[in-house]
Amino acid sequence: MSKVEAKIRLRKWGSLFLVGGCYYVAGQIGLLFAIVHTSITALWPPSGIAVAALFLLGRGMWPGIFLGAFTVNYFRGTPFWVSMGIGVGNTLAGVVGAGLLRRLTDFRPDFSRIKDVLTFGVIAGAIDPVFSASIGILSLRLGGLLARGQAGDAWFAWWSGDAMGVLIFAPLIFVSQSVPWRLPPLSRILEALLMVGGFTWLAVMFFQANEMLVFLVYPFSVWAALRFRHLGVNTLALILTGVSIPILILRLAPQSHLQQHDVLFLVYRLQVILSTASLTGMLLAADITSRRRTEDDLATKEEQLQAIVKHTPDHILIQDRELRYTYLVNPELGFSEGEMLGKTDYEILAPEDAENLTKIKRKVMDSGTTMHVEIPLKTKSGKREFFEGSYVPRRNERGEVNGLIGYFRNVTERKQAEKVRAAWQESENANRAKDQFIATLSHELRTPLTAILAWIQLIKAGMLDEETRQVGISAIEDCALTQNQLINDLLDVSRIVTGKMVLKPQRVSVHAVLLSALDAIRPSAEKKSLKIVDSYGKANLETIADPTRLKQVFWNLLSNSVKFTPAGGTITVITDTVGASWRVRVVDTGQGIAKEVLPLLFRRFSQGDASSTRVHGGMGLGLSLSHSLLELQGGTVEAASAGAGLGATFTVCMPLLDRASGGVSMPVFSSAPLEPAELRTQQAALAKIKILFVDDEPRTCDAFRTALSSFGANVKVAASAKEALDSLADFDADILVSDLAMPKEDGLSLLRKIRASGDLKNRDLPAIAFSAFGGQEVGTAALDAGFQAHLSKPVNLPNLVRKIQEIAGEPAGSPQPF
């Protein structure tokens, strides 16, 4: 047997004997209060000890209980078998009581909840003594110690005495288990002594006089419950019992003339008083304990919450149903807590910020769902900062939304870092595009040069016959011309990029220009035995364009087809009209264009894709140049192909001359320098920006729609102020670009209407005006009407793009970009 096992065993036996001993002593005391029969008492303390011991130390304590119960009766002269019976009954009562408390309920022996008191009262107080009383009375009867007529009274007296023992003694043992055994402060000891002393004196005084005065114990009961909880209440109950029962028994003893009935009546009455007092005190103490515990829990939670709130770097806010701030942690935007509490966003923030936030917050409260938001807000000093966080609806006990909670973090620095990174990435891409441009260009320049040099070597070496030499000389001429063309194209590209391309638009016949281009291309087509079919409609189509540049566009497309169509192929040129535009299609039977290459064809080597070198290899700058030249004149060019080997179709489209406007041509655009930074981003300079364009002249509308769309913008055109107002209802415009002079209703009136409208988004719609009659006055009038900028016709396209970039995305009235 190990030491530990020995120790455990010793402890168990020690406990057994201790329990048995206590039971025996308590039993000796209890028998002092015998009524009806020497074995039946008004108070049986051992029953409380039994339940407590069996519950706290386990079922294994039963032999101690049995031993105590047996001996206390046997040594008092009760016959052996009767003592055995009583022992069994008392043991069984304790085992059943403790077992039920342990198994059937979640009873807690600290009586911290009201249900603990009630459970205990029913199981230990009422049920448990049924066993001891029944078996005990049966034993007495079998032993011939009790007359039949007495059995009923005896049973009830036994039951109530045992119940009293349980109610008074077991709780005291239970709660003393859960009381921390350290010395309380002196004041508390004094208070306890005062209470116990005063109560004992009172109890002795009154019970000697009249036990009905027991109600005077209630103030003490409340005192005990409030200040000392269960320990106090149960101590007082013990004192009250310890005083009242002996007094009653002593008072009854000399009066032997009293009928048994009268005696029992007095005893029962006292028992009812005692148990009521005891249970009432316990319930009071339990209620106070559970309340105090709830308070402690709340305090702990509050403490945790405060600790979290104190150390969080985030901004937390609570707002009521009317969106007034009621609670703030780490107030942001430069406002103090005092400046925000009790106020709404409208009273603190910039109007447009308040507007936006309120819209979001109302949505959160109306829908009852959490929303994650990322939002720029203006600080007190007018700086723009970025916030990221959530609004969570707040609800009352009935589940109705009565406000919201917001958690936010200032992400301005992160946003700025992202911006820097994006800018860096952009410049990286631009660098790569430049490298590729140079690589492509050197390839393009070197190819004819290589041929020229080789031919010259051959001719110089004198190894060629006359015929071959002539072939060589024309080849040299061709190559030199190719190179010349390339250099011219390069210069044109440079002019467009730097804004120095000057167009001389005039009224021209589309077919006349096309014919001159066809004449120019014919020799090289014939050289490759290519057939050119020119299918031309009857109408004489006229347009406004620079004839030289338009011819250059046609020539580029034709020369491209000649180059990529194998000998014997056909090039078909078809001219027709589509709506208010004319269209020229160049269809060849050449090698075609792969699908993935199509979108790259007209780009000026600006995409970061490595394939561009290959796409443009051998193609020169003609296509991208044509694209730019048309763009400047309000036209478009597109390429289509069913795939490699299946030929290609290039389509040029441009507005027809508007006869209604009397053919007076006014250049729509002028070219001006593009910043280098814009050059690289211009393809997507206006990506995703929604523009509402208003002009009564369809040609201008078409030209601007084409031009602005080419920068990635989503353009909707309106021919009048009324149409514009209608469009705004379903077109979620980011910016308005409007002509000032329009019949019926002019641009100034249009914007005034928009600014005065109830539509919150459009009320602040950014707007740019343009007009043919420049001058200071018009500009001022436009700005007064609410336009952010005014441009005069002809509109400088890059300038317009730059202005749109600048102004769109900034709500009106806040000219400072983030």
Partner: protein, 127 residues
């Protein structure tokens, strides 16, 4: 001495280069077949023209010259020597794929080109 005509495949998308290369190679009586794209070159090789050499431009519209060289080596059983034509002066320092026997820079010297062609064909037939 008149050597028998030997077939050479020239793969280059630039007409101007094609024409002059044909003239240069004609000086040594080579028979030139021209391909403008990688796809055409593969097709011609599949038709079994008994080419003795391939002159391959590195910048083609439909594929990279080096990729094509590797594909040719994979597809053709008889090892046809490949000479690269490139404007990239760094090429001579790059690791050339197997089957590529040399590179001609642009602009090229016709005498040097012919020497390289002759040497490449002789080397391959002596194996």
């Amino acid at each position: 001495m008149m050597a028998p005509e030997k077939a050479i495949l020239v793969v280059d998308d630039e007409e101007q280069i094609q024409v002059v290369l044909r003239q240069i190679l004609k000086l040594d009586h080579y028979l030139v077949t021209a391909a403008h794209t990688g796809a055409q070159a593969m097709e011609l090789l599949a038709q079994n023209h008994d080419f003795r050499l391939i002159l391959l431009d590195l910048t083609l519209p439909d594929c990279r010259g080096l990729e094509l060289a590797s594909r040719i080596v994979e597809k053709t059983v008889s090892r046809i020597p490949i000479l690269l034509i490139s404007g990239n002066p760094e090429l001579s320092e790059m690791k050339l794929p197997p089957g590529v026997v040399g590179a001609v820079g642009k602009p090229f010297d016709f005498a040097e080109l012919l020497r390289l062609v002759r040497q490449s064909i002789e080397n391959s037939s002596s194996h």
